[in-house]
Protein backbone atom coordinates (compact mmCIF):
# COMPACT_ATOMS: atom_id res chain seq x y z
CA UNK A 1 0.00 0.00 0.00
CA UNK A 2 1.27 3.47 -0.86
CA UNK A 3 -0.81 5.08 1.81
CA UNK A 4 1.10 7.06 4.40
CA UNK A 5 0.65 5.91 7.93
CA UNK A 6 1.89 6.99 11.32
CA UNK A 7 3.04 10.57 11.26
CA UNK A 8 0.53 11.99 8.78
CA UNK A 9 -2.50 10.39 10.39
CA UNK A 10 -1.21 11.37 13.85
CA UNK A 11 -0.89 15.00 12.74
CA UNK A 12 -4.43 15.05 11.39
CA UNK A 13 -5.81 13.27 14.46
CA UNK A 14 -4.12 15.87 16.71
CA UNK A 15 -5.59 18.68 14.58
CA UNK A 16 -9.12 17.24 14.83
CA UNK A 17 -8.77 16.62 18.57
CA UNK A 18 -7.59 20.21 19.10
CA UNK A 19 -10.57 21.45 17.04
CA UNK A 20 -13.08 19.42 19.12
CA UNK A 21 -11.45 20.76 22.28
CA UNK A 22 -11.83 24.33 20.95
CA UNK A 23 -15.52 23.61 20.19
CA UNK A 24 -16.10 22.34 23.76
CA UNK A 25 -14.50 25.56 25.12
CA UNK A 26 -16.39 27.81 22.63
CA UNK A 27 -13.01 29.24 21.56
CA UNK A 28 -13.92 30.54 18.09
CA UNK A 29 -10.40 31.65 16.98
CA UNK A 30 -9.06 28.18 17.87
CA UNK A 31 -12.00 26.52 16.06
CA UNK A 32 -11.14 28.49 12.90
CA UNK A 33 -7.35 28.14 13.21
CA UNK A 34 -6.86 25.27 10.73
CA UNK A 35 -9.51 26.09 8.13
CA UNK A 36 -9.11 27.33 4.57
CA UNK A 37 -10.82 30.53 3.42
CA UNK A 38 -12.84 28.53 0.86
CA UNK A 39 -14.25 26.07 3.45
CA UNK A 40 -17.56 24.48 2.46
CA UNK A 41 -19.66 23.37 5.44
CA UNK A 42 -22.76 21.16 5.44
CA UNK A 43 -24.09 21.57 8.99
CA UNK A 44 -26.82 19.85 11.06
CA UNK A 45 -29.07 22.95 11.19
CA UNK A 46 -30.01 24.91 8.04
CA UNK A 47 -28.84 26.41 5.74
CA UNK A 48 -28.19 23.72 3.16
CA UNK A 49 -24.62 24.94 2.75
CA UNK A 50 -22.24 27.54 4.22
CA UNK A 51 -19.33 28.80 2.12
CA UNK A 52 -16.27 30.76 3.24
CA UNK A 53 -14.96 31.63 6.68
CA UNK A 54 -17.62 34.24 7.50
CA UNK A 55 -20.47 31.80 6.93
CA UNK A 56 -18.54 28.98 8.62
CA UNK A 57 -17.99 31.18 11.70
CA UNK A 58 -21.73 31.94 11.85
CA UNK A 59 -22.56 28.24 12.09
CA UNK A 60 -20.67 28.22 15.39
CA UNK A 61 -22.46 31.35 16.69
CA UNK A 62 -25.69 29.39 16.21
CA UNK A 63 -24.22 26.26 17.82
CA UNK A 64 -23.17 28.20 20.94
CA UNK A 65 -26.82 29.14 21.57
CA UNK A 66 -27.67 25.47 22.06
CA UNK A 67 -24.45 24.04 23.43
CA UNK A 68 -23.03 25.09 26.79
CA UNK A 69 -19.23 25.28 27.28
CA UNK A 70 -17.67 21.95 28.24
CA UNK A 71 -20.69 19.91 27.16
CA UNK A 72 -19.77 16.99 24.95
CA UNK A 73 -18.43 17.46 21.44
CA UNK A 74 -16.61 14.17 21.55
CA UNK A 75 -15.11 11.76 19.04
CA UNK A 76 -16.68 8.29 19.41
CA UNK A 77 -15.12 6.74 16.28
CA UNK A 78 -12.53 8.23 13.91
CA UNK A 79 -10.93 6.82 10.76
CA UNK A 80 -8.35 8.94 8.91
CA UNK A 81 -7.22 8.20 5.35
CA UNK A 82 -4.31 10.36 4.21
CA UNK A 83 -2.32 10.72 1.03
CA UNK A 84 0.59 13.06 0.44
CA UNK A 85 -1.45 16.25 0.21
CA UNK A 86 -5.14 15.25 0.43
CA UNK A 87 -6.86 13.45 3.32
CA UNK A 88 -10.28 12.70 4.70
CA UNK A 89 -11.59 11.78 8.14
CA UNK A 90 -14.80 9.90 8.91
CA UNK A 91 -16.20 10.11 12.42
CA UNK A 92 -19.11 9.36 14.69
CA UNK A 93 -19.45 12.17 17.21
CA UNK A 94 -21.38 12.76 20.42
CA UNK A 95 -22.90 16.16 21.09
CA UNK A 96 -24.38 17.02 24.46
CA UNK A 97 -26.93 17.95 25.64
CA UNK A 98 -29.49 20.76 25.51
CA UNK A 99 -28.92 20.93 21.76
CA UNK A 100 -31.71 21.15 19.20
CA UNK A 101 -34.64 19.40 20.81
CA UNK A 102 -35.14 21.38 24.00
CA UNK A 103 -34.71 19.56 27.30
CA UNK A 104 -31.22 18.21 28.00
CA UNK A 105 -30.82 14.61 27.04
CA UNK A 106 -28.64 12.41 29.19
CA UNK A 107 -25.51 11.71 27.18
CA UNK A 108 -26.50 13.93 24.24
CA UNK A 109 -26.95 12.54 20.74
CA UNK A 110 -24.78 10.98 18.07
CA UNK A 111 -24.07 12.58 14.69
CA UNK A 112 -21.97 11.78 11.62
CA UNK A 113 -18.97 13.90 10.59
CA UNK A 114 -16.86 13.82 7.44
CA UNK A 115 -13.85 16.17 7.14
CA UNK A 116 -11.81 16.89 4.00
CA UNK A 117 -8.27 18.27 4.29
CA UNK A 118 -5.51 19.54 2.02
CA UNK A 119 -1.86 20.03 2.84
CA UNK A 120 -0.91 23.59 1.97
CA UNK A 121 2.59 24.99 2.51
CA UNK A 122 3.42 22.00 4.69
CA UNK A 123 0.37 22.28 6.98
CA UNK A 124 -2.90 20.32 6.94
CA UNK A 125 -5.93 22.57 6.45
CA UNK A 126 -9.66 21.72 6.66
CA UNK A 127 -11.49 22.64 3.43
CA UNK A 128 -14.74 20.72 3.95
CA UNK A 129 -16.96 19.57 6.83
CA UNK A 130 -20.20 17.63 6.63
CA UNK A 131 -22.15 17.20 9.89
CA UNK A 132 -25.49 15.37 9.93
CA UNK A 133 -28.02 13.12 11.61
CA UNK A 134 -30.19 10.69 9.64
CA UNK A 135 -33.63 11.95 8.60
CA UNK A 136 -36.56 9.89 9.88
CA UNK A 137 -38.94 10.87 7.10
Amino acid sequence: MMRQTGTTESQIKALIEAWTDAVRRHDLPAILAHHEQDIVMFDVPPPLRSRGMDEYGKTWDLFFKYHKPLQAFDIEELEITAGEDVAFAVAIMRCGSATFSGPPEQGGFLFRLTIGLRKIDGAWRITHEHHSVPADD
Binding site: M2, R3, V40, F42, D43, V44, P45, P46, P47, L48, R49, L62, Y66, E79, T81, A82, G83, E84, D85, V86, A87, F88, V90, I92, F100, S101, G102, L110, R112, T114, G116, R118, I120, T127, H128, H130, S132, V133, P134, A135, D136, D137
Partner: protein, 147 residues
Protein backbone atom coordinates in the same frame (compact mmCIF):
# COMPACT_ATOMS: atom_id res chain seq x y z
CA UNK B 1 0.03 21.26 -4.14
CA UNK B 2 3.09 19.19 -4.90
CA UNK B 3 1.95 17.80 -8.26
CA UNK B 4 -0.37 19.98 -10.28
CA UNK B 5 -0.45 17.77 -13.38
CA UNK B 6 -1.40 14.44 -11.75
CA UNK B 7 -3.94 16.27 -9.57
CA UNK B 8 -5.66 17.64 -12.65
CA UNK B 9 -5.87 14.23 -14.30
CA UNK B 10 -7.08 12.69 -11.02
CA UNK B 11 -9.82 15.30 -10.86
CA UNK B 12 -10.92 14.37 -14.38
CA UNK B 13 -10.96 10.68 -13.43
CA UNK B 14 -13.05 11.38 -10.35
CA UNK B 15 -15.57 13.50 -12.25
CA UNK B 16 -16.04 10.52 -14.59
CA UNK B 17 -16.59 8.18 -11.61
CA UNK B 18 -19.15 10.56 -10.10
CA UNK B 19 -20.93 10.88 -13.47
CA UNK B 20 -21.04 7.11 -13.88
CA UNK B 21 -22.28 6.62 -10.31
CA UNK B 22 -25.02 9.26 -10.72
CA UNK B 23 -26.07 7.69 -14.03
CA UNK B 24 -26.43 4.32 -12.24
CA UNK B 25 -28.60 6.03 -9.58
CA UNK B 26 -30.82 7.58 -12.28
CA UNK B 27 -31.13 4.21 -14.07
CA UNK B 28 -31.87 2.37 -10.78
CA UNK B 29 -28.88 0.12 -11.47
CA UNK B 30 -27.81 -1.17 -8.02
CA UNK B 31 -24.89 -3.18 -9.44
CA UNK B 32 -23.67 -0.07 -11.27
CA UNK B 33 -23.79 1.96 -8.04
CA UNK B 34 -21.98 -0.69 -6.01
CA UNK B 35 -19.34 -1.22 -8.74
CA UNK B 36 -17.69 2.07 -7.71
CA UNK B 37 -17.70 1.32 -3.97
CA UNK B 38 -14.77 -0.05 -2.00
CA UNK B 39 -15.44 -3.34 -0.21
CA UNK B 40 -15.25 -1.56 3.15
CA UNK B 41 -17.46 1.31 1.93
CA UNK B 42 -18.81 3.33 4.88
CA UNK B 43 -22.15 5.00 4.17
CA UNK B 44 -23.83 7.81 6.11
CA UNK B 45 -27.20 7.70 4.38
CA UNK B 46 -30.08 10.20 4.21
CA UNK B 47 -32.20 7.84 6.31
CA UNK B 48 -31.31 5.76 9.40
CA UNK B 49 -29.26 3.91 10.53
CA UNK B 50 -26.41 6.20 11.59
CA UNK B 51 -23.94 4.28 9.41
CA UNK B 52 -23.60 1.12 7.33
CA UNK B 53 -20.47 -0.73 6.18
CA UNK B 54 -20.15 -2.72 2.95
CA UNK B 55 -22.49 -3.07 -0.02
CA UNK B 56 -26.26 -3.18 0.54
CA UNK B 57 -27.80 -3.90 -2.88
CA UNK B 58 -31.11 -4.96 -1.31
CA UNK B 59 -31.42 -1.57 0.40
CA UNK B 60 -30.75 0.25 -2.88
CA UNK B 61 -33.15 -1.97 -4.81
CA UNK B 62 -35.85 -1.44 -2.19
CA UNK B 63 -35.42 2.33 -2.48
CA UNK B 64 -35.35 2.19 -6.31
CA UNK B 65 -38.63 0.25 -6.21
CA UNK B 66 -40.35 3.28 -4.61
CA UNK B 67 -39.80 5.32 -7.83
CA UNK B 68 -41.81 5.20 -11.04
CA UNK B 69 -39.49 5.36 -14.05
CA UNK B 70 -36.11 7.08 -13.89
CA UNK B 71 -34.96 9.02 -10.86
CA UNK B 72 -34.02 12.68 -11.27
CA UNK B 73 -30.57 12.78 -9.68
CA UNK B 74 -28.82 15.97 -10.75
CA UNK B 75 -25.44 16.81 -9.29
CA UNK B 76 -24.71 20.52 -8.95
CA UNK B 77 -21.69 22.51 -7.73
CA UNK B 78 -19.42 19.47 -7.70
CA UNK B 79 -16.08 20.37 -6.12
CA UNK B 80 -13.29 17.80 -6.41
CA UNK B 81 -10.14 17.92 -4.28
CA UNK B 82 -7.79 15.21 -5.52
CA UNK B 83 -4.30 14.08 -4.64
CA UNK B 84 -2.45 11.25 -6.36
CA UNK B 85 -4.33 8.46 -4.56
CA UNK B 86 -6.72 10.12 -2.08
CA UNK B 87 -9.56 12.47 -2.95
CA UNK B 88 -12.85 13.85 -1.77
CA UNK B 89 -15.64 15.78 -3.43
CA UNK B 90 -18.83 17.49 -2.39
CA UNK B 91 -21.95 18.59 -4.21
CA UNK B 92 -25.61 19.44 -3.85
CA UNK B 93 -27.94 16.87 -5.38
CA UNK B 94 -31.42 17.67 -6.68
CA UNK B 95 -33.59 14.58 -6.32
CA UNK B 96 -36.84 14.61 -8.29
CA UNK B 97 -39.42 12.21 -9.66
CA UNK B 98 -42.66 10.34 -9.16
CA UNK B 99 -43.05 7.79 -6.40
CA UNK B 100 -45.07 4.61 -6.61
CA UNK B 101 -47.33 5.91 -3.81
CA UNK B 102 -48.46 8.70 -6.17
CA UNK B 103 -46.44 11.49 -4.53
CA UNK B 104 -43.85 13.70 -6.24
CA UNK B 105 -40.38 14.15 -4.76
CA UNK B 106 -38.40 17.37 -5.12
CA UNK B 107 -35.60 17.53 -2.55
CA UNK B 108 -32.14 19.10 -2.39
CA UNK B 109 -29.58 17.31 -0.27
CA UNK B 110 -25.83 17.45 0.44
CA UNK B 111 -23.40 14.80 -0.75
CA UNK B 112 -19.77 14.15 0.16
CA UNK B 113 -17.77 11.30 -1.41
CA UNK B 114 -14.30 10.20 -0.27
CA UNK B 115 -12.18 8.13 -2.65
CA UNK B 116 -9.04 6.00 -2.62
CA UNK B 117 -7.06 4.84 -5.61
CA UNK B 118 -6.20 1.14 -5.50
CA UNK B 119 -3.91 0.24 -8.37
CA UNK B 120 -5.31 2.27 -11.28
CA UNK B 121 -8.87 2.34 -9.98
CA UNK B 122 -10.56 5.01 -7.90
CA UNK B 123 -12.99 3.50 -5.39
CA UNK B 124 -15.55 5.32 -3.27
CA UNK B 125 -14.51 4.52 0.31
CA UNK B 126 -17.11 6.70 2.01
CA UNK B 127 -20.37 8.42 1.12
CA UNK B 128 -22.23 10.95 3.26
CA UNK B 129 -25.70 12.21 2.25
CA UNK B 130 -27.92 14.41 4.39
CA UNK B 131 -30.50 17.12 4.75
CA UNK B 132 -30.34 19.66 7.60
CA UNK B 133 -32.63 19.42 10.63
CA UNK B 134 -34.97 22.26 11.62
CA UNK B 135 -33.94 24.05 14.82
CA UNK B 136 -37.49 24.87 15.94
CA UNK B 137 -37.56 22.09 18.51
CA UNK B 138 -39.24 19.65 16.12
CA UNK B 139 -35.95 18.27 14.76
CA UNK B 140 -37.83 17.70 11.47
CA UNK B 141 -35.83 16.98 8.35
CA UNK B 142 -35.47 20.17 6.28
CA UNK B 143 -36.50 18.75 2.91
CA UNK B 144 -37.80 22.07 1.56
CA UNK B 145 -34.49 23.99 1.33
CA UNK B 146 -33.12 25.21 -1.99
CA UNK B 147 -29.64 26.47 -2.76
Amino acid sequence: MANQTPTTSAETEIRLIVDSWAQAMRAKDAAGVIAHQARDFVQFDLAPPLQTVGAHPEGLQGWFATWRGQIGYEITDLHVIAGDDIAFCHALIHLTGSRTDGSESDVWFRNTLCLRKTGDVWEIAHGHESVPMHMDGSFRAAIDLKP
